[in-house]
């Protein structure tokens, strides 16, 4: 293992504490979010995501889906309320405490967010390297993952030379390479054909069966209906529409 990534492996009390299994991977309690001095884009969010469940996040454009996902993958702090991830209150946690939690979350961005000057291989390998894996440890899993998303022969290609669909698959491979406990995907099948969309959803479902909590933001009704057992989170005007009450914290049925 080389120097610059060595900070990636941590064995302190925080990591040991994180190892325990919690019933809810995420708990939102009266969460609100506003950017600058504008109006709140998210209001009074009260819900919990159960560990090992599969969720679809839907809602019209501008409803706040991406903002909600940002809160989930710790790219944004709420302006009010509390957020617990993996059983830890993180709304006001010091920023230096956040990286170990981020490593437990895989994110597929709508705009892919691939590093342009890195090959597909290096982009996919990045989370492993940040986590402290050596070049030898990285080689096998990355090749395997690229093969799975159908890009085995494009390992050395850089993102600008890949099609939108190929970039999407690299982004997904990067998000799942670390076997995250929470997978957050923003329109992950928006740029791929139906067959690849099914394969990717198959990957998400497989990961979900292995215990990963999956949250997919999508407009694709077909995708939702093709994933039995998944729960629906609907956002409208920054508030949660939860007709079943199953997302409530505690669930309405327990009240």
């Amino acid at each position: 293992m080389h120097g610059a990534w060595q900070g990636g492996r941590r064995t302190g009390p925080a990591i040991r504490r994180m190892g325990r299994q919690v019933a809810a991977v995420a708990e939102f309690d009266s969460v609100g979010l506003r950017y600058g001095t504008g109006a709140e884009v998210l209001r009074d969010l009260d819900f919990r995501l159960r560990t090992g469940s599969f969720y679809f996040l839907t809602g019209p454009s501008g409803a706040g889906k991406t903002s909600l996902l940002k809160l989930l993958y710790l790219a944004q702090r709420p302006t009010r309320g509390r957020i617990k991830l993996f059983g830890e209150e993180l709304s006001e946690a010091p920023r230096e405490d956040l990286p170990p939690f981020r490593r437990r979350i895989g994110v597929v961005f709508q705009d892919f967010r691939l590093i342009r000057h890195l090959s597909a291989f290096d982009n996919v390998a990045l989370p492993l390297r940040v986590n402290g894996a050596s070049d030898e440890e990285v080689e096998g899993p990355v090749r395997e993952m690229l093969a799975w998303v159908g890009l085995a022969d494009r390992a050395s290609a850089r993102p600008p030379t890949l099609s939108g669909g190929e970039q999407q698959r690299v982004a997904i491979a990067r998000a799942v390479i670390n076997r995250p406990e929470l997978l957050v995907a923003d329109e992950p099948t928006g740029n791929v054909d139906a067959e690849m969309a099914n394969r990717l959803m198959g990957l998400f479902t497989a990961m979900n069966r292995l215990g990963t909590t999956v949250v997919v933001a999508t407009h694709d009704v077909g995708l939702i209906s093709a994933t039995p057992g998944a729960q629906l989170i609907r956002l409208e005007n920054g508030t949660l529409v939860d007709p079943t009450g199953s997302l409530r914290n505690p669930p309405r049925s327990a009240n």
Partner: protein
């Protein structure tokens, strides 16, 4: 401690092939060149001041106005004083020869009163006052002058210049640091997207900083060494000229310790630049979530 210097090719690729802050090595090279020359000047001044100070510390001259009919007696009195290590009466012919530079042939005139001078070294300054009194008895009007009193202002000036050189070295180091901070901020802006992605997947500030730090160190080291080599060539040229230039510059030499300090300066500048850049990068990263 130095593990971060030895990163894998994969880690180096993260920031891309583009050099960190293109002009940075050049700026640091210019700073290093200037710092080396100024530091060498300061050290040479210090060395000269020490040399002059040592040579005149115990040096005195007994001046006898109107020549020396009692010169032998005065020399004997000086020689018999405890702590006096060497005594030399300056020949009158030498005095007249010296005066000839200003007075011309008139300096050889017997009517020109030329004082007698006796140079001596006295290890114990406390013995000089009794000697002064004895000399006045032998030759009324005789007086002893300590060389350190007459050369004192020159030594003071040398020491001031030495501190000025030290101050300039600090000032240039600060300027080099400021240039590195600007370059570091520029590099952060260039790589903002990569940093965001790395933070997003759980990289710590230190992991991100390490990638920059290594690049900064290499640029600073290359710049510092290039500037130092150029300065060394100039100093060698000046030194060879100084040895031909005569006794005034002949005393301004650099000792082994001075050379060691000069040799360490580029590395000190490299460490400073790296530390400053690392601090700037860390501070900047802390502004993000």
């Amino acid at each position: 401690m130095f593990a971060w210097l030895f990163v894998s090719p994969a880690e180096r690729r993260v920031l891309g092939a583009a050099r960190f802050g293109g002009p940075t090595p050049w700026v640091i090279a210019i700073m290093s060149f200037s710092i080396m020359l100024i530091a060498a000047t300061g050290l040479a001044l210090a060395s000269t001041a020490a040399l002059v100070g040592r040579s005149i510390e115990a040096r005195y001259t007994l001046q006898v106005p109107g020549g020396g009919p009692n010169l032998g007696q005065l020399v004997a009195a000086v020689r018999s004083t405890p702590g006096v290590t060497s005594v030399e009466a300056v020949p009158e012919s030498d005095m007249r020869q010296t005066l000839e530079r200003w007075l011309g042939p008139a300096a050889q005139s017997a009517e020109l009163p030329v004082p007698a001078l006796i140079d001596f070294d006295a290890a114990d300054a406390a013995r000089v006052a009794p000697l002064q009194r004895r000399a006045e008895v032998i030759a009324p009007g005789a007086r002893i002058v300590a060389h350190r009193d007459s050369v004192g202002p020159l030594l003071h000036s040398l020491r001031v210049l030495q501190w000025v050189a030290f101050g300039l070295v600090l000032l240039l180091s600060a300027a080099a640091s400021a240039a590195v901070v600007l370059a570091a901020r520029g590099a952060l802006d260039t790589h903002r997207f990569t940093i965001e992605v790395m933070h997003g997947i759980g990289a710590t500030d230190l992991q991100v900083t390490h990638l920059f730090q290594r690049k900064i160190l290499i640029d600073a080291l290359v710049g510092s060494l290039a500037g130092a080599i150029a300065a060394a060539l100039v100093l060698l040229l000046l030194a060879s000229g100084a040895s031909l230039a005569g006794e005034l510059t002949g005393g301004a030499t650099l000792g082994p310790l001075d050379l060691l300090i000069l040799a360490l300066l580029p590395f000190a500048l490299t460490i400073l630049a790296t530390w400053v850049a690392r601090t700037a990068v860390l501070r900047s990263l802390r502004k993000a979530l």
